[in-house]
């Protein structure tokens, strides 16, 4: 009892920070419940990646292999993980609420007949969990009944696990998959190309909203500031909907949830759905010409100004700072 099975999502054998937050949460949960933290890495050849994650202070790593696990597909991964969770007698199965975690874990919960809490932000001592609801306006404390419980964690709410301690043993297993029951087909993946850091990994994020008025202005006004800071670029939904920037830049309730050290909101009003995705950032700056804009209520530093003047000025000032 009390063992925690952590699903470690990897990108071609590399573990992004988001995965390491689930490892951290899994270690914390195992400690609180007096169980072991076991990591599973799935793929057609997951051994190398499994060796990598074995350095993060966990009890055991399982390299779960099967040709059907090459490209992520919900049905094959569900079968493989459900069978493994049962075999290991895990009490908890946990992953980060990435696009993959969100797609896979509810299906896995259904296969296990387990209750599931999505995007938890805290693990309490009394067997309960905290999770945001109503776009972050309400924090719910929830409990899960039953011998097995399924969880996803919000990446911004936990630190990333760090390597250290003894290297865990890696066990290779062949996944139990009934290939005849697989119905999903992977067709293609079109990666967004960018030299900038990923939104969920970045230390600084500069986001633009409808106030930027045109796609062109993201390039000529916002990008110089983004690049001067070595930041990731984000956007409000209004900016995405208007086609100014691609959709995977959207920050908010229905986009990405981020908590960088510095978040600069430019020409963004601060609708509750946008705040849901960034209000846990360490320092928040806002530039908006409307002094009543709700974004200012959550900002540590607010500048009431025309962004077309203020943003180039900031960029200049940062350049000077770097060269001084």
């Amino acid at each position: 009892m009390g063992d925690v099975l952590i699903f470690a999502e990897h990108e071609g054998g590399h573990f992004p920070k988001s995965t390491l937050t689930a490892v951290h949460a899994g270690l914390e949960l195992a400690k609180k419940r007096g169980g072991k933290a076991i990591v599973v890495v799935a793929g057609d050849a997951p051994e190398a990646a499994a060796g990598e994650i074995a350095k993060y202070g966990v009890a055991k790593v399982i390299a779960l292999a099967h040709p059907a696990l090459k490209n992520y597909l919900a049905d094959a991964h569900t079968q493989a993980l459900a069978a493994l969770a049962k075999k290991e007698g895990a009490e908890f199965v946990i992953a980060t609420a990435t696009a993959m975690g969100k797609d896979l874990f509810p299906r896995l919960a259904a296969r296990l007949g387990a209750g599931m809490a999505s995007e938890i932000t805290a693990i309490n001592d009394d067997q309960s969990f905290v999770r945001p609801t109503y776009a972050g306006n309400v924090m719910a404390t929830v409990e899960i009944d039953g011998p097995i419980k399924v969880l996803t964690v919000r990446g911004t709410a936990f630190d990333a696990a760090k390597p250290g301690g003894a290297v865990a043993p890696v066990e290779k297993r062949n996944a139990e998959i009934d290939a005849g029951a697989l119905k999903m087909e992977f067709v293609s993946f079109n990666a967004t190309k960018s030299d900038r850091p990923q939104l969920t990994e970045a230390r600084i994020i500069v986001s633009g909203g409808r106030g930027l008025k045109a796609a062109e202005n993201f390039k000529t006004v916002l990008e110089p500031l983004v690049d001067e800071l070595g930041a990731a670029m984000g956007a409000s939904r209004a900016a995405v909907d208007a086609g100014f920037v691609p959709n995977d830049l959207q920050v908010g309730q229905t986009g990405k949830v981020v908590a960088p050290e510095l978040y600069i909101a430019v020409g963004i009003s601060g609708a509750i759905q946008h705040l849901a995705g960034m209000k846990d950032s360490k320092v928040i700056c806002a530039i908006n010409k409307d002094e009543e804009a709700p974004i200012f209520a959550v900002s540590d530093y607010g500048l009431v100004a025309d962004l077309f003047k203020a943003v180039p000025e900031m960029t200049e000032e940062i350049k000077k700072l770097k060269h001084s």
Binding site: A99, M100, M116, V138, E143, V187, F189, T254, A305, E313
Partner: protein
């Protein structure tokens, strides 16, 4: 093509949500109730598929009698008939998915389209659970759907890019915001909706396990962020970020 669209009644996203002081729920006195925005998109997509190929769009909701209002709105948008699975109990996603699986078993749709997430509980679970219970393929967070004969291909917005997956029907799809712009109910639509079939079924007559495994103990307001400080110029902003906040 027969399409089943499960919908949920939620507070209007523009409403300010307040937690009751005893943490037992949210204050509902000033709440305007609407169809969950993602479910509206699901209805719209079902209607567009039907308009291209003929068929039937059936709405289903699991909730209280008042939820009929949202079913009626969906009928006014153009859906053909509606089912209210009535319950006053607080169900978890697993129980809702079990009920929907039972309804899907009876109705035998070719496609079930749901919202990707309900904006009240923000769970993002029901569609995926339903797909597993039915043993069907799933495409969550769909931003584009193409159907040719008995095959569906779905474009999904995932971390780091766009993924396309495909499979044979029947299947479960969950709708993302970019899938379409939902239509408004027209006046003739509203008139017609009054005469459309609205079936009521008691949830506890379905013979499925409704006991929730996920239970909410208490609700609380999130910690308030202290903000509001205004700075005079871009120069001062950069200087404070450097010397005071020490983030650049």
């Amino acid at each position: 093509m027969k399409i089943l669209v499960p919908i949920k009644r939620v507070p209007d996203p523009a409403t300010t949500i307040r937690v009751l002081s005893d943490g037992s729920g949210i204050a509902t006195d000033n709440v305007k109730w609407v169809i969950n925005p993602f479910c509206e998109i699901a209805i719209e997509e079902a209607l567009r598929i039907k308009e291209k190929q003929t068929g039937e769009v059936i709405l289903v909701t699991v909730g209280q009698s008042t939820w009929q209002e949202q079913l009626r709105t969906g009928l006014a948008m153009g859906a053909d008939r509606a089912i209210l699975v009535k319950t006053d109990a607080a169900l978890d996603s697993l129980a809702i998915a079990r009920i929907l699986a039972k309804i899907a078993g009876d109705e035998k749709p070719d496609l079930v389209i749901l919202g990707k997430q309900a904006i009240d509980d923000d769970s993002n679970q029901v569609g995926q659970m339903l797909a597993e219970m039915l043993g069907w393929p799933q495409a969550t967070f769909a931003s584009k759907i193409e159907i040719a004969a008995d095959k569906i291909s779905v474009l999904r917005e995932v971390d780091g890019g766009l993924e396309t997956i495909g499979f044979k029907l029947p299947a479960v799809v969950t709708a993302d915001l970019r899938l379409n712009e939902p239509r408004y109910a027209s006046l003739p639509g509203i008139m017609k909706a009054r005469k459309k079939e609205m079936k009521e079924i008691a949830a506890d007559s379905l013979g499925v396990d409704l006991a929730p495994k996920l239970k909410t103990k208490t609700l609380a307001a999130p910690p308030k962020r202290q903000g509001g400080r205004k700075i005079a110029s871009a120069q001062e902003m950069v200087s404070l970020l450097h010397t005071e906040a020490k983030v650049i």
